[in-house]
Amino acid sequence: MHHEPVQAKLFTKWSIPLLALMLAGAAAFVARFAFGLGATTNLSNNYPWGLWIVFDLIWIALAGGAFVTAGIVYVFHGEKYHVLARPAVWMGLLSYSFVVVTLLADLGLPWHFWQLAVQMPEHSAMYEVSWCVGLYVTVLALEFAPTVFERFGWNRLRDIWRTWSPVYTVAALGLFTFLMSHQIWMAAVATVLFAVIAWLTRPSADRTGVPVILIIAAVTFSTMHQSSLGSLFLLMPDKLHPLWWSPFLSILFFLSAIASGIALVMLMDMTVSRVFRRPWNGEVLAGMGRILLGALVVYYAARIADVAARGQLAALSGRPGALFLIEVLGGGLVPVLLLSTDALRRKKAPLISAALLAMLGVMFHRVNVVLLGMRLPGTMPGGPTETYYPSLVEWLVSLSLVAAAIFFFGLGAKLLPILPRLEPTAERAAGASDAATRG
C-alpha cells in the first residue's frame, strides 16, 4: 500500500470558518482560566459535569474507529480495508488529543495531573480511564509515526521505531496491568504474554510492516477505556434512570463504541472522497457497511436484552421511554434495515443514512447517560434542581475543537502521506466519485 499527500491548496474557503471558530474557542479557553469555571460555565454542584463530558464521551466513542479499523486491517487481516487504516489513525490521534484539551479545561485543578502518577487508588474508573487514555494516545502516536518518517525520509528513525516501539508497548501494557491490579505477578504475566506476542508477530526480516503488537496494544487499551467510561456511571445507580444504568454499562459502552467507530470511519471516507474529489470507495464502504451491520446487531441486541432482563422494557413510559425508543429505533433498527442487503449497501443514499444514524444513535446514548437520563436529587438536603444549559464558553471550547479536528485532518491529508495513492488509471476528474459507485 502506497500513500501520498493529497494535491490540494492548503487553505480553502472552508478554512476560514474553521479558523474563525478555532480562534473563538481559544479565546473561550483563555477566558475559562482567567475567570474560573464558575464564572464561565453553567456547571454547578447539581450539574458538576456537562457539555464537555458529553463531548468527551461522544468523541472517544467515535474515535473508536481508529482501533476498530486497525484491528480489522492488521489483526483480522482485512487487507481490503487497508486504505482506511492511516486516515482512521490520524483521526483517532487528533480526537484523543483534543479530548485531553477539553479535559484540561474541565478539570478544576489540572496542574495536579501528575498526582495520577503517584497515587494508586483501588477500583476508580476515573483512574483507569486517565491512565488508559494517556497510554493509548502514545500508542496512537506510535501507530502514526511511520507516516511522518515516510514523508521526510527519516529511515533511521523508522528503524529505531520498529525496534523499540514494541518494547515500549509491552512495557506500557505491563505497567497498566500493575497499576490496575496492584499485583506484581499479574503485571509479570501480562508483560511476559505481550512480550511473547510481540516476538511472534515481529515485523518480517526485511524490516517492513507495522509491529503487530502496536495494534494489539491499541485494541486492548481501547477495549479497556471504552468500557471503563461506562463503568464511570456504575457509581450512580441512584441517579441514572434504569433504562441506562445497568451493571453491564461497561460492556454496552464498548459495543456501542465499536458501532459508532465504524460508522464514523465510513463517514470520514465518504467525506474525504467528496471533499478531495477522489473516487467513491464503493467496495470498501459496502464491506464496512456489512461490518457495521454486525456491530449494530450485536450492540442493540445486548442493549435491549439488558433492559428487558431488568424488567424495564415492560415499564417503558414517559420521557425516558421516548428517549430510549428514539435511541433504539432511530439509531439501531433503521440503520440495520438500511444495511440489511448487499444491494442496499452498494447504494450511496442508504449507506450514508445508515452510517449517520448509527453514529447519531450512539451520540444520543451518551447525551442520555450524562444529562437527559439523570435524575438529580440535588445538593444536600436535596430539592428541585434547575435545568442545565451549556454556556457560550462551554459551546465555544467544544465546537472549536471539533473545527480544529476537521481542519487538522485536512491539513494532515495534504501534507503527509495519509491517504492511499490513487492508481494512475483511476479517473481523477471531478465526476469520478459518481462514476465510482459502479464498483
Binding site: E79, Q119, T177, S181, S250, G382
Partner: protein, 304 residues
Amino acid sequence: MSKAVLEDTTRCLGCRSCQVACKQANDLPAERTHLEKRRLGFQNPAALSAKTFTVVTNHEVEDPRAPAGLRWVFAKRSCMHCLEPACVSACPVTALHKETDGPVTYDSEKCLGCRYCVWACPFGVPTAEWDSLAPRIRKCTLCFDRLRDAAAPAELNGKAAPPEAQARMAEAQAKPACVAACPTGALMFGERDALLAEAHRRIAEHPERYVAHVYGEKEAGGTSLLYLAAVPFDRIGFRTDLGERSVPSHSVPAMSAVPPAVIAAGGLLAGIYFLSRRRAEVKAKQAAPAKDAPEAAVPQDRKE
C-alpha cells in the same frame, strides 16, 4: 474502631449552634441569607456548598401525636461519612480517603478537580468552589484534625490551667465542633456500635416517641452519621430510595475485571491474528495456481 455521630432529632431545637460552630471550626465565609420559607421553613442556606459544610433543616410535619397535629422536626445534615463511601471509590487520586476510625477526609494537594465525587455521592455532599480560580472540593471531615490532636491549652487567661479545666477542654476538643456545640445533647459522638445500641435502646424504651428506624444503620451500606426521628425519614428530606447496598459495590466487579481482561484481550487478539493469517495464507496458496488473478494473492477480507 469506627467513630460516629448519632443525632436524635427529637432532642434538636433547631438552634443551629452546630451550624455556626462548623463555620468557625472550618473558618468558612458567610453566605447571603436566602429564605425559601414555603419549601424550607427557616432553613438557611438552601443547600450545602463550599461555604457551608453542615445545615440544619426545618420541616413542619403533620403528626397526630403532636399537639395541634403539627410537629417541627430539625435535622443537622452533612457528609454521612459512609462506611463504604462512593466519593472515595470515585476519586482517581485518593484525594478523598476513608480513615480507619471513620472520617472521610479530603486532601486538596492531590485533587484534580474532576468532580466525579460530586456526581457519585448519593447524598449530594461534596461541593466545588465554583467562584475560585483553583476550585477545591469542600465537605465536612468530621473534624478529624480535632479528633487526632485533641490537646487542651496549658494556659487559661494567662495562668496555668487547673487540671479539671484542662480535662474538660480536652474532652470538648476530642469531638467534632458541631457535637461539642450542641446544647441539648441531640448530637452524640462515640463508637458507632455503641451509638447504634443506644439508638435501638431509645426506640425500644419509647416506641411512642420514635419511628422504628435508625437512619444510617444500613442505608447505602451504612454510614457514620446516624439519625433517630419521630416521623418517617422521607418526610424530613432524607433519601429513602438508596437501599442497603453500598454504592462502590456496583463498580468493584467491573473494575476488578480490568487486569484479567487485559491479559485475556491480548491472548484473544493474538489468537485471531494467527488464525486469520493462516487463513489468508491458505487462500493465497489456493489462488496461486491461477496466475491470471494476481489480486487474489492479496489476503481478502475474511471477517464474518
